[in-house]
């Protein structure tokens, strides 16, 4: 017998979902609200929720003091570059694991994922030294490579999951029809996996955009992305909460908008294979 879904139950579920959603969204909402307050109101106790004089002063100050466009451009280059490079490396890797698996394929996949469990700071020192030796410190190229490597396990895992869903028969038909390995990947596999590749691209772009540890530690001025832009307004002294909030809002706005318009794609990507 199917479980009866009563109206009461529906209402409870809806309320619970709203509460969780608001809890998650509240810090972002608070940041956005604070960005429109004066520094004095921002630290007022008790906090002021909506009843204050809205001001754009913080945004004006932040834009005067920092070159927002340069940080934004660096973020786009670093997040976009590392994602595209990651896809180029991951497609052949995921292909081989999905379609010519060996006895060790599962182990390799888990090992790749296990690198995500390593605290990043554990390898900061060696990577920092390598960057000094290669002259990659504070370069966009260096960050593209590091972020690509950081996100590669996730990209490979996601693509592997999508590729597993493609019937082997179709690839074999391609082989019978005379497709070389390159033809097979270009004409058959990639077009069939486009939805999966798109959501992988999107998710990894967001992850790379938000990555703060490596972008803060390996950049100074030239290659600094929006994470560094936010950090530059965090200060132990002085009143900077409102300006910090304005900077944060400006940093997260592009990715929030991107996420909003692509949420359907993202959700279908993240639940791919989980539900039929």
């Amino acid at each position: 017998m199917a479980r009866a879904v009563t109206n009461q139950r529906k209402a409870i579920n809806t309320a619970a979902a709203w509460i969780v959603g608001l809890l998650i969204f509240f810090p972002i909402l608070w940041t956005i609200l604070t960005s429109f307050k004066t520094e004095a109101v921002a630290i007022a106790d008790p906090p002021v929720f909506l009843g204050f004089d809205w001001t754009l002063e913080n945004y004006r100050t932040v834009l005067e003091r920092s070159n927002y466009a340069r940080f934004l451009w660096n973020s786009i280059i670093i997040a976009g570059g590392s994602t595209v490079l990651g896809i180029i490396v991951a497609v052949p890797a995921a292909w081989s694991m999905a379609f010519v698996p060996s006895n060790r394929t599962k182990d390799i996949l888990l090992w790749m994922l296990s690198t995500k469990m390593l605290p990043a700071v554990g390898v900061l020192y060696p990577i920092y030294l390598i960057f000094i030796n290669l002259g990659l410190l504070d370069s966009r190229l260096g960050l593209v490579v590091v972020l690509m490597l950081i996100n590669l396990p996730i990209i490979v895992w996601m693509l592997y999951t999508y590729f597993k869903e493609i019937p082997v028969d179709i690839l074999e038909a391609g082989r019978m029809d005379g497709a070389s390995l390159k033809d097979e990947i270009i004409y058959i596999l990639t077009p069939m996996a486009i939805p999966g590749i798109a959501s992988t691209l999107l998710l990894n772009f967001i992850l790379a955009w938000n990555e703060a540890f490596w972008t803060l530690n390996l950049t100074a001025a030239k290659a600094a992305p929006l994470t560094a832009f936010i950090a530059s307004y965090s200060s132990p002294e002085g009143l900077f909460y409102a300006k910090l909030s304005a900077a944060s809002t400006m940093a997260i706005a592009p990715i929030l908008i991107l996420g909003w318009f692509s949420q359907k794609q993202l959700v279908s990507g993240l639940t791919f294979g989980a539900v039929k």
Binding site: E172, A173, A179, D183, M192
Partner: protein
């Protein structure tokens, strides 16, 4: 041309030996059917010929040339898959054109061949559709179209009709047979359905556990099965195999008699039994009879107008000239 020769071919997956050493020659233009129960290795054998699996040892020759290590595309064979394996993101036309495009054929010749194939397969009106917008039968036609445009030296069919409903299956069976008569190209067809094997084949290869049990024309296999396995597998309903005292009267371990070679009477006959189930098909009646020692139930095929029902007593007389005899090793005894 499309002569295919397998010499001492074996295949193992890890420690599991799927195909023990096997020799087989398929003549040019022949319609050969690999038939056997599921898991008998017939699909594996087809995939070895296609080149989708590597053989473990032995040699495969196509038209006298060693093809053992050639990749699938270089063997000049085309394959139709059970799942159709169409490219879902391409139109019907692009699906059919794909092998031609891969071969680097010029556009005009591609167009000509696609048009000819579409006409022959009644696909002309569907060329711009995607496979997802077609019925099962149409998809199978597209898969066949994709195979014939290449003008291969041989066609390989891997259970191509098993996803279709019964009525469509009969129609497609005829179409494939007619295509073979028209093209006169070698075809290798894998099926577990002995009716398909009997109706389509020039030559049937019966397989069990990777071993060829018998090779021959449909009627050779029907009339003189080499062993009990082939006897039971070819023919529908299957042959009754009787052991014990009735077989001993003929001086052998087992006798076999086909349902259509047993006369039924309600008054007199050699063996007496009771009707279990009588299946009235209109043209024929299949009667399953209990009480015959050494074979329970025993199936007979009677005329459509016989009037028997559950519990009736009937008398059976096997036609002496159609009794098959098998020794204790299961092999045919003349």
């Amino acid at each position: 041309m499309g002569q295919i020769q397998l010499t001492q071919v074996t295949k193992s997956f890890g420690d599991v030996n799927v195909i023990p050493p096997l020799d087989l020659t398929i003549q040019d233009g022949e319609f050969t059917v690999f038939v056997g129960p599921s898991g008998c290795g017939k699909s594996t054998l087809l995939r070895l010929i296609a080149g989708l699996e590597d053989i473990t040892s032995g040699q495969i020759q196509i038209d006298g040339q060693d093809a053992t290590n050639l990749p699938p595309a270089k063997r000049g064979l085309a394959m139709v898959f059970q799942s159709y394996a169409l490219y879902p993101h391409m139109s019907v036309k692009k699906n059919i054109a794909f092998p031609l495009k891969m071969a680097g054929m010029e556009e005009a010749e591609q167009e000509r061949r696609i048009a000819a194939a579409a006409k022959a397969l009644n696909l002309t009106d569907y060329l711009d559709r995607r496979p997802g917008q077609l019925s099962g039968g149409q998809r199978q036609r597209v898969a066949i179209g994709r195979a014939i445009v290449r003008e291969p030296s041989a066609f390989l069919f891997d259970e191509p009709l098993s996803n279709l409903d019964a009525a469509l299956r009969v129609g497609m069976r005829l179409e494939i047979s007619e295509m073979h008569k028209r093209l006169e190209t070698t075809m290798i067809y894998v099926t577990h359905d002995q009716v398909e094997a009997m109706t389509m084949a020039d030559k049937i290869v019966v397989l069990q556990a990777g071993v060829i049990e018998q090779v021959g024309s449909p009627l050779e296999l029907y009339r003189a099965p080499r062993n009990k396995f082939v006897a039971g597998f070819i023919g529908s309903p299957k042959m009754n195999l009787i052991e014990g005292e009735l077989a001993a009267k003929h001086g052998v371990h087992t006798i076999g008699i086909r349902p259509e070679h047993t006369d039924v009477s309600t008054t007199d006959g050699l063996w007496k039994g009771t009707v279990g189930v009588a299946e009235h098909l209109g043209s024929d009646t299949f009667i399953h009879i209990h009480g015959i020692p050494g074979c329970d139930p025993l199936t007979v095929r009677a005329g459509g107008d016989i009037d028997v029902k559950h519990g009736d007593t009937v008398y059976l007389t096997p036609q002496e000239q159609h009794i098959h005899k098998f020794g204790p090793d299961g092999l045919r005894v003349e």
